[in-house]
Amino acid sequence: MVLITPLLVAFYMSFTDWAPTRGGLAAARFVGIENYQELLIYDTRFVEAVVRTLLLSAVCLSIEFALGLGLAVLFLRRFRGKAVAFSVVLTPMMVLPVVVGYTFWMLFQSNGPVNQIIELIAGPGSAPEWFRSTPFALAIVVITEVWHWTPLFFLILLSGLNALPENPVRAAVILGASPRQIFWRVVLPMLKPVIVVAFVIRSMEIVKLFDEVFMLTRGGPGTSTETVSLYIYKLAFNDFQLAYGAAAAFLVLLGTLTLVHLLLAPVRDQLLEERR
């Protein structure tokens, strides 16, 4: 009951034209699927936000995965100062998203430290105005997101790598496989469930991408970096279109569910059947 009631109320709300200024929810007019129709067919801003969020997620997750895997493989070696390096690499995860957003906002100001470094290397006048152009604003969002969450990939993949059984690797060595072959043909396939779980956790998080974008660009310039969460937030709390926002939120929930389901499909059996 506790779980379902708010969901049901919101679900009903998404079929009405309710707004807080119109009195109780009971007074609202039932409009059927109008909200959903409007969203999917006429609201280009919503559709663009969805596509943008998906693209951003794909780009961010690929970069985070590549960097995280690289670092994790690096950390399989023994070297001096490993413990310190390990805690340093994990720090970004512990910073509040809002603080990360604000910090990167400061770093990428037109006369901020990043631009100072760029001008030092490439000469004066070469630094871009990060927040004024769409590609650069999107790049900042990606950079921030990658900085913040690569450590999670790193941590999950490292523990996955450490938990792998050693015998297949030894067998491959004896059979004369090169290190590259061992990595691609033996280690990665065994790591697959861990990789998928990492992607599932991160993709559920990243489609909710809000804090960083809110602090960095507020969706700007224009609406060119607006994510779905940011758009729904603006619908609900700037325009007070709560019913419309609820409809949008349900579409996103449905999308996320489908996405996670599809991602989990290849390893579902492996994850559930392991212990009988």
Partner: protein
């Protein structure tokens, strides 16, 4: 097994990763000890010449910042911190209790739930 030094190429990669990781954190710390006049200086100031703890005092006493001739902040952090502690403790307790009990249920009796996971 003795710790061998990394080959230099990997060392460069690792040091690069550590630099990129620490730079924003360095910036957070430096900004935290900057007096108000340094906050938005052009060009940006990396290391404040007169480090101060006034920002930390302002957190719990909104008027502290006024000694620099800047308006106080509207609200002390005390209530927000207490609120965060209260809500995170409650949420953790509740979710651990409910999660633990339902996890026991699902794992002990294979009826229901398992497939929908």
């Amino acid at each position: 097994m003795a710790d061998r030094p990394l080959p230099w190429s990997l060392l460069v990669v690792l040091l690069g990763a550590i630099f990129v990781t620490l730079f924003p954190i360095f910036w957070i710390v430096m900004t935290a000890i900057k007096p108000p006049t340094d906050w938005n200086a052009v060009p940006a100031i990396w290391i404040p010449s007169e480090p101060t703890l006034v920002n930390f005092r302002t957190l719990f006493n909104p008027e502290a910042i006024r000694e620099y001739g800047v308006g106080g902040v509207s609200q002390a952090a005390t209530m927000s911190v207490l609120g965060s502690i209260l809500s995170s403790t409650t949420a953790t307790l509740l979710s651990v209790t409910i999660g633990l009990l339902s996890a026991i249920g699902i794992s002990r009796y294979s009826s229901g739930g398992r497939a929908t996971l």
